[in-house]
Symmetry: C2
Subunit: 146 residues, 2 copies
Amino acid sequence: MSNNQFKRGELYSFITGKASTAIARRLQKKFNAANLNLTIEQWSVLYHLWKQDGISQQELCNASFRDKPSITRLVDNLEKLQLVKRVSSESDRRMNLIYLTKQALKLQDQTMELANETLNEALEGVSPDRIDVCREVLQIVYDNLK
Amino acid sequence: MSNNQFKRGELYSFITGKASTAIARRLQKKFNAANLNLTIEQWSVLYHLWKQDGISQQELCNASFRDKPSITRLVDNLEKLQLVKRVSSESDRRMNLIYLTKQALKLQDQTMELANETLNEALEGVSPDRIDVCREVLQIVYDNLK
DNA sequence: TTTGGATAGTTGTATAAACAACTATATGTC
DNA sequence: GACATATAGTTGTTTATACAACTATCCAAA
């Protein structure tokens, strides 16, 4: 028997990720209300490209904690939306380098603003140091399991 | 303007729920390794039924933070696996009451054990009071947004 | 230079979530 | 009792995820 550390309620919440689901839903609603035709998952890919443009799909896999087929299809859809372009690498023709379009660059400010707004709503009434503890714990969880 | 409370890394982790995703994946792998032919989502429905059997699909929606079509299909799949049975309510024929089968009752101990094990791995090296803070913050986030 | 293993990406299939539109049943009001 | 409205559940469609199997390219060792 492992131990008695977790009461049921805790266990369920941790595993099902109710909080992050709620945050993602709220942000999606904001995107929809702003007529941004963009899913949170697509946004999360753009998020990495805004930090560094022209990375490979494999690097997007690592950065976004998704497998290769997931990234293939997200990039497919982002390409349909004309937000990214696949460019075959000259030095290694196995790789596609993913580049943002002008249209995608324009989305950064507005969507980051909505994301910040969402987090402020989510964390209203929580003190900064408790947020810090929470963030650190979640990081350890991720590191423990990845 | 919202504020500057969040650095990028924090923001992304909170929204995409990397930690809970990692926990769910680890638990799924344990289910697979134990030859339990069961998804985490299906397990999370059983979880509520183990607490209270014979509730309606709508109550499962509320308990599991899912919409009605999601529950319809999860119950469909659980029925195919012969883990639950839909029983039309006598008092209100719009409702299906969902009952666990004997087979599903047998799964409770083993899967809860695997879930506890997973959480112990996830939270290794985190002190109980920090876990508490984290859990409380996540609960507030959920309450703020639901 | 050939060959075999590793790496990058794609495709097929199953499960799941969100949203809209739908059916069936219940209920309250006239 | 009839009708409007609300509630419970289902179905269709799109997007996303996981896993397995596949192709194409690269690279290193014989």
